[in-house]
Assembly symmetry: C2
Homo-oligomer: 508 residues x 2
């Protein structure tokens, strides 16, 4: 019977398996995780963790099932399959290759290593003692070099690691983009440092705003950019994030600071950009592993677009400021220009999470460089802290006094993220390239924003990018949406124009 199953029957079987995988995946990664991040009472944690690891194991088993493998093999041999079927097969393959190509014992050893490494990293950071974490990082680097071997690559192992997050990314491509950016950003940064902010330092307490007013502002801003509250929610949690159980159920989690409303506002814009993407995905793509964002960086691009290119622009503040004055009676800032400059202030910091829009790029470049060299084997874990200090001194002009504010600050390596940092870079390039393509069609963003034409902006993104979900690999999606492959030009132009305006560079 099975042997004679028609392609239509086989496709139905494949879709049934994928639907079940999605049910588990979305339940685990959205509803259960969302609840844990927002409303779960503290003593619910132990049992919730058990439930989540049970569902994780269920998911893993399904990705490994021989039935799934044989169906995917069947369709991946078909050269003339319809585009959606090929896309679906590509998605399943890329999802399960990463698990199935690793021998089970090694995968389990990795899970155990990571569980321990996160703990040790936390202690090491606390104790400001890199040596304690070093042996774990060495094993993590070795593990990922081995994984890269299982997954396969052409030029070098780091390609395989980057491709896990951004299919098709290579060191060759990334080096070119990084080089184009690096000197420009460092030069611009040094110019701005020398120039100084025209409005100077804002007074202490100037950005304080009661939480109730901040909540109203975030709600208003989400509605303004086009977030659909019939298909989504806005909640609070310690870690801002956006989680989608389906395009009809998208949850934005934001986080406010009473003493500075800018933090919560930009969290909301950042997450809201992702929220729009998730809501716009064509629901017909559900059940094929295609009803998801194209990649981590593609989603982050929408976040950076709304947070920075829109949210930190003069046009946006022209629109928002008078409305914000009405909505937030306690607002102490009474000049739009002051606010606009304050959200675009460039100031070097040792901690990536506190970085401004411009120097953030330098933080990511440093991580990309050392990570790539660790995986290549041209940099040893023992040398890492020294190289880190040197790069911060060279690029940002400041030197970490210790490892806590240096190499130990990020959890990513301890948590098994290798090849992940470059996505923070490409997302910014994508965002600027999307914005430039949009401007070619709709006119300058500045005017669109000042006139409150958020609906048109959203519509353009929905039509050109969002609705396709994961049908196209990220590189192809960028090409289709903007007419060219990913380039650094648009981001560089954007930064130049932005800071020329903010720092009034032409007036010098």
């Amino acid at each position: 019977m099975r042997r004679c199953a028609s392609d239509a029957q086989k496709l139905e079987q494949l879709r049934r398996l994928i639907r079940e995988i999605e049910y588990l995946k979305y339940t685990l990664n959205s509803t259960l995780y969302w609840d844990k991040m927002t409303y779960m009472p503290e003593k619910g944690l132990t049992y919730r963790s058990e439930v989540m690891s049970f569902l994780g194991a269920q998911l893993y088993e399904r990705f490994r099932s021989p039935e799934l493998r044989s169906l995917v093999d069947h369709f991946s041999r078909q050269k003339d399959a319809p585009p959606q079927v090929s896309a679906m097969v590509r998605r399943v393959e890329s999802n399960y290759i990463y698990i199935n190509k690793i021998p089970q014992a090694e995968y389990q050893a990795y899970i155990a290593l990571i569980a321990k490494a996160e703990q040790v990293w936390e202690q090491a950071r606390e104790a400001n003692d890199f040596q304690r974490f070093a042996p774990y990082l060495e094993r993590i680097v070795d593990t990922f070099r081995a994984f890269a071997g299982y997954w396969g690559y052409e030029a070098e192992p780091y390609d395989a690691l980057m491709s896990f997050y951004e299919p098709g990314t290579t060191v060759q491509q990334m080096d070119r983009l990084a080089d184009e950016l690096k000197h420009f950003v460092i030069d611009l940064f040094q110019t701005l440092q020398a120039r100084g902010m025209p409005c100077g330092e804002p007074a202490e307490g100037r950005f304080r705003l009661p939480l109730e007013e901040q909540r109203a502002l975030s709600q208003y801003v989400l509605e303004t950019i086009g977030f659909d509250f019939a298909s989504g929610r806005l909640d609070e949690g310690p870690h801002p994030t956006t989680l989608a159980a389906s395009p009809g159920d998208v949850r934005v989690i934001t986080s406010y600071q009473a003493e500075d409303f800018r933090s919560g506002l930009f969290n909301t814009l950042h997450e809201g950009g992702m929220g729009l993407y998730e809501q716009d995905i064509d629901p017909a793509l559900l059940g094929m592993l295609l009803g998801e964002v194209a990649s981590f960086a593609t989603e982050l691009a929408e976040a950076r677009l709304y947070e920075n290119i829109i949210g930190r622009s003069a046009g946006f503040w022209e629109y928002l400021f008078p409305r914000m004055q009405q909505l937030c009676p306690s607002l102490a800032v009474d000049e739009r220009e002051t606010l606009f400059q304050s959200v675009n202030q460039v100031r070097p910091t040792l901690i990536r999470n506190n970085a401004d829009e411009l120097t953030y790029i330098l933080h990511i470049l440093i991580r990309y460089e050392v990570e790539k060299d660790l995986i290549r084997g041209t940099l040893s874990v023992a040398e890492l802290p020294q190289v880190w200090r040197q790069k911060y001194t060279d690029y940002l002009g400041i030197t970490p006094r210790n490892d806590r504010e240096g190499v130990l600050q990020d959890i990513q390596w301890a948590a098994g993220y290798m090849g992940y940092f470059p996505g923070y870079l490409t997302s910014n390039l994508m965002a600027a390239q999307f914005a430039a393509a949009l401007e070619r069609e709709l006119g300058p963003l500045r005017h669109l924003l000042a006139a409150g034409r958020f609906r048109e902006i959203h519509q353009w993104l929905a039509t050109r990018i969002h609705r396709f979900g994961a049908i196209y690999p990220p590189g192809e999606l960028v090409k289709r949406a903007t007419g060219e492959p990913l380039r650094s030009t648009y981001f560089i132009n954007y930064l130049r124009e932005k800071y020329t305006e903010v720092y009034q560079l032409k007036k010098q």
Copy 2:
């Protein structure tokens, strides 16, 4: 290998299977359902329904697994198994007997019937047309008579249906309790009708309270009775309910009415009683199908205890009223006695959901009588509306003008609940019997409550009832907690004393 597995190994296997069943069951019935009832955006419904029916099917499959059956068979043959093992086996058996003894085709036909019947019931109620629903109700009755045959019973089929909800309940026992109650309640009701409320009808709008004050009141009341907010939450939803993902994660959902705060307050007390029960269950019982309440009626008993026996008592209002006056500045009622009387007013109504504490019993007795006769075959579906009207006229002195306010008012039969209504009765008996046992040890509830000794009351319930979870069948739990089997005496005494006080019967 498997054949030589020791009992310890077999027990470990059994517990592994049960743990997985619990993960699915609790995720489905608590977290996913809770989210659906509280925070899910409306367009999330379609996908959520798919996820929930997928997990339901997963659960069903696991209950049917041959591995589970063979392990349960093994342990159920052991006469000298430790008490927890026997309890666990009893729980698995009672859970899966109800599914496994029904031929699969018949079970599927039943699922389809119910799905349709709920729809038809809703239309029939809307159209006020019992004839439209009658053929479905006939098939439902036939189905449950067949199910009772598969499940097995000694005296009559209805015993099997009641036992599904309250293990071990029989018509013989229920008839005795019902008889003892019926004439007492009808007589008392007629006396009160003739007597009239001493304080008369409260003025319109007297119980209006802003939602913010109602929320603060509910929060305060939950804290007061001992609900632990580190292990639970209070939320709002259209249908008040309590859902536990584990004893450390118990979610109370309440519902407020702006025009009458009493509704929300009693919802919260009702659900809060259940919430205490869920939080007090010994977490060591998780993974054995024992970390749950003993039965539907046992849990409802705690709800009725806190809602009625405590919440509508003079002692409770003595404690709460001055605090409520402080907490709720908009409170318009300024006399405690008025409030106490208003929450104990007896007034006949055709709709069960609007009934007062006393006449509620008559609504349930009517449903018990007709349901039992339908299953026995001594009452036909065609005769049902006429019999219903007659009973309302006889017991409550009011006659439904139509089926919408008569036999079509409840969804239970359409939803496949047969043998469920008697639990609403026994829960009240249990609550009164628990309260009487507690008073024998701690002194009169009235004094405990007036003095705010909520902690002692809660402690008694936790120690005598809650912590045992589902180890004991409900009948045994009642006997252990109170020293005797379930009786109607305590409830009758309670009602007599309550209404003598409220209606000042002695002063007549």
